[in-house]
């Protein structure tokens, strides 16, 4: 039986095109990995980043990180499939240590924290708007009374 290894894959996707298409492409690559791997551990989206030097005449791209456990033959098959994909500008598939699982968990926690903070900010904004509306109504009514 072939031994399984922990691998990490970082893919740079083309940022040209619609957001929904790019998101779909992330899922397509994930399903491609899931077909060939033994255990898919997770993925982390780094978001759109500017390149330090242009790649295929593009100045920025979407970085997505995948972590999985697979047999020794799998990486070759996955990278040959990725090379055929036009939406993938570049990819790096390497063996990794179990500490990468901690990295992935940390990234998830950071993402959750950011989402929480954003929702809190939005809530506070909404509250502020309500307060402002009330104050403007009150001030208008006071002005009307004074005029009368």
């Amino acid at each position: 039986m072939a031994e399984s290894q922990l691998y990490e894959l970082t893919v740079i996707f083309d940022s040209q095109g619609e957001e929904a298409d790019i998101q779909r492409e992330f899922d397509i690559v994930q399903s491609l990995i899931e077909k060939r791997c033994k255990e898919f551990i997770g993925r982390s989206e780094w978001g759109q980043r500017d390149f330090v030097y242009p790649i295929k005449k593009r100045k920025s791209g979407y970085y997505v990180y995948y972590l999985f456990r697979a047999a020794v033959e799998a990486p070759g098959l996955i990278s040959s499939a990725l090379k055929m994909d036009e939406k993938v500008l570049r990819h790096l598939l390497v063996k990794t240590k179990p500490s990468s699982i901690d990295y992935l968990n940390k990234q998830k926690q950071i993402k959750e924290q950011i989402e929480k903070d954003v929702s809190e900010i939005e809530e506070s904004k909404r509250d502020l708007e309500i307060v402002e509306e009330k104050t403007t109504e009150n001030s208008e009514s006071i002005v009307d009374e004074q005029i009368e």
Partner: protein, 81 residues
């Protein structure tokens, strides 16, 4: 008159930063750390200058090359473009 011989100061080399703190991970994902180990021309800093031990210098070089491939770190300085 007897001249006093000056004693040469022997400096102990600084310990490697990564040996000192094993929690620091050398990885291409941590490219902000890697940026400290390349000079303004984008070249990998020699270990005699950075004070990193041989083992960690090998790891640093490997991860810098990976980060360069993913366009996270430059191969060369901007002036040469």
């Amino acid at each position: 008159m007897i001249k006093k011989k000056k004693r040469r100061e022997h400096r102990r080399p600084k310990p490697c930063q990564f040996c000192k703190d094993p929690t620091i991970q050398i990885n291409y994902k941590n490219f902000k750390l890697l940026r400290r180990y390349i000079n303004e021309r984008g070249k990998i800093v020699a270990r005699r200058n950075s004070g990193v031990c041989a083992r960690h210098q090998r790891q640093l070089a490997r991860e810098i090359k990976r980060a360069r491939f993913l366009a996270l770190i430059p191969y060369t300085a901007y002036i040469y473009r």
